[in-house]
Symmetry: C2
Subunit: 487 residues, 2 copies
Amino acid sequence: MSIFEKARELAVIHSVSSIVGWDQEVHLPPAATEYRASQLSWLAAQGHEMATSDEWKADLEAAEAADDGKDPVRTANLKEIRRQFDLATKLPVEFVSRWSKAASLAKPAWAAARKKSDFSMFAPHLETLLGLAREKAELWGYEDEPYDALLGAYERNAKTREVAALFDGMRPELAEIAAAAVAKSKEDAPRLPAGPYPVEAQQKFNRMVAAAVGFEFDAGRIDTSTHPFCTTLGPRDVRLTTRYDEADFTSSLFGVLHEAGHGMYELGLPESDFGLPSGSSVSLGIHESQSRLWENHIGRSREFWEHWYPAAREAFPALENVALDDYLRHVLRADFSPIRVEADEATYDLHILLRFEIERRMLRGEIAVADVPGAWNDLFEASFGFRPEDDAHGCLQDIHWAMGGLGYFATYTLGNINAAQLAAAARKDEAIDAAIRRAEYAPLLGWLRENVHSHGGTLDPADLMERATGRKPDTADYLAHLRSRYL
Amino acid sequence: MSIFEKARELAVIHSVSSIVGWDQEVHLPPAATEYRASQLSWLAAQGHEMATSDEWKADLEAAEAADDGKDPVRTANLKEIRRQFDLATKLPVEFVSRWSKAASLAKPAWAAARKKSDFSMFAPHLETLLGLAREKAELWGYEDEPYDALLGAYERNAKTREVAALFDGMRPELAEIAAAAVAKSKEDAPRLPAGPYPVEAQQKFNRMVAAAVGFEFDAGRIDTSTHPFCTTLGPRDVRLTTRYDEADFTSSLFGVLHEAGHGMYELGLPESDFGLPSGSSVSLGIHESQSRLWENHIGRSREFWEHWYPAAREAFPALENVALDDYLRHVLRADFSPIRVEADEATYDLHILLRFEIERRMLRGEIAVADVPGAWNDLFEASFGFRPEDDAHGCLQDIHWAMGGLGYFATYTLGNINAAQLAAAARKDEAIDAAIRRAEYAPLLGWLRENVHSHGGTLDPADLMERATGRKPDTADYLAHLRSRYL
């Protein structure tokens, strides 16, 4: 088997894991939890064994030696397979086992600590995980600082200092926009009628909207789970999930638009290259750009609702006496919440900037673990104007650190930045812009397919952005978008 | 790894296949079919490779050599693991590949032939599959006749001549009961009101009934699929499916009771032995006994509906003016259908006896493939009094042969025989009998757990029956049951 055939077989294993994982989130009977873990762990072991085997290495080396560089996709595939092989094999088995053990102990400890809002219960675990993250960064290697290595695992070849420059540069204006949006929302408080918005009516409406933006139901589904997600079970099998709030149909709808953005990216990747880097998504920051583009730039726009509001009113008679403008105030309402996952578009990035700052300083040793709650609350107060009531609403709110996911948060804001830059670039094409105004999305999706999806993982995210928009990622379009929407 | 650890790992692989297969039947988007096949085939290859490997053989031999016979469960496990290993390894790779190829070509040819009711389109495939079945029987070996080997793969150590003796012995009385039941149904034609029986109301009612007979919803689910089935995704994860007929709620209900019987067997196997023979079902004939017992002996009884009919009326207002006796006539209606899967309890076994006869004669070379349609129709006419209108309603109706499943059909009637014998034995316990009359099923389920489920696959089916009921399987209880119900 060539390394490319091997990579395709590995994709079979990973996609089977995705089936098993999807079923776990959507359908698992309560008593089945324990055995399900052993099924997932068997699959993970098969995949890991294969991807770190001597045969894999030998086949990769043989293909690298034989590569004459004439086929740039082949060369890019080999480069990315090599990068992933190095990431996997630079970590000794002994380290991986310490890592999994620490993470599996940290997760329940974090959950208990959050429940009691007692940081001291989680602190020793965070200490261990931080040490392991440092070790990992050393094993992987980095250019400027250890954080590069962690960030790079999610956002290929991203540089911490460049991300920091983007984030630092946008902070003042972001804070200004957020404050203005929150103030405006407060004085002109929008209120959706209490409903009812029955789940079945929501499902029907969501399906209609998802199909209209271009999600292909012959190659996918929408189901229900506690935490919405999108997962790929095969090249033509992408599953979205959402959850339903019978008091507010927009909650499930924007969830669906968000996940459909992820899903349309997955379905837009070159099908024949499934399992190769050229048939895979490139990074979390690009993935999130697709979800945010459809959720926020399309789904929360006035032009979208000018078209869709009559249908929403038909689906939900409770909206009968709500004018479009009032409804839009609800869709675009903003508030300073202490909780990231409850944050709106206008305030969301402030949560991310805070986390990026804390993580980077922790890793540099500038903040000791014991001082994390204080540092969190100080930074939070500086951005949001008040202190979280307790650590459950502060540094204990997210699961990411407990899963060993230092470096992940930044990709959310990179996604927002990329989404705005891509949307602006696409709309420079007048036909696309006009179509969007008519609530026709095929031209926009076509542009994304051509300029983003079709490249798979053959380009670094920053290069992909440059080729699609003419510029490396910068914050100009994103800030302009927020300004025009909220100021 | 010991052979027992290996067997448990193999069960992980098989159960993952079951998850993937369940999703395929219940949720698969249409465009995902092709890749899904490659996922299932990868899993099948992993399992096959493991179960036929040199390591497996060496570990099995080591365990056999070390077995001192003091632990009968251990000895029984080794004996059954050995049997399965021999079944798998006596077939050379070259044969297995010819077999799969022939079956994969035969399936679409059979479907096309049935559609056009043109036996000649399927005949060459049946010829090939029959030749392969003979070859398989020689490779596996047998005592009396080749059919033993094929039957034994489904019904451990069953002997064709014993099954033939059972079937031949019951044929005259079976025919008499069927004829009387059909005649009675005709003269006193029962008719269920046209409904509506909305799917949601059926689902709710089915769930209530399934829970009442003892199906555990914390370890299982009911979903919808084209063909109802029961599958085990883990020791505490058993999934049933059914399909809905909005004109007749009893169709989905009896489907659920049938599959719940299979499911309760699976959930009653010793959980800690999952993956070992002692934690596995023993045969199709025992499995089918559990489904038939709950579907027919419990679900179609007057005492059952004396309790449940008021609830059915509440669930389905269309039943308002239907008296219990009229409803029961619908539940127990009988008719001579040419199609097995549409047959009722009173006529079902005649279909099986016919197939058993034809298969056995084909294998002995007493009927040439070209003569199958004629032989089928002659035998059918002898039992049912008329000839099928065409081969689509005759020898082309079932998929089993096209899948290479010669020897399978007999287990359906063995299941009916076993069900009656087990039900009669259990009801000899007056407390169990009285509980059933009160529509309380825990004592019956407890008896089945103790006398059938808890043994897993440690006993041959006939020995299991003897231990549970005091007799090897015979037709006395089954014929008595049919007589008392239909004469």
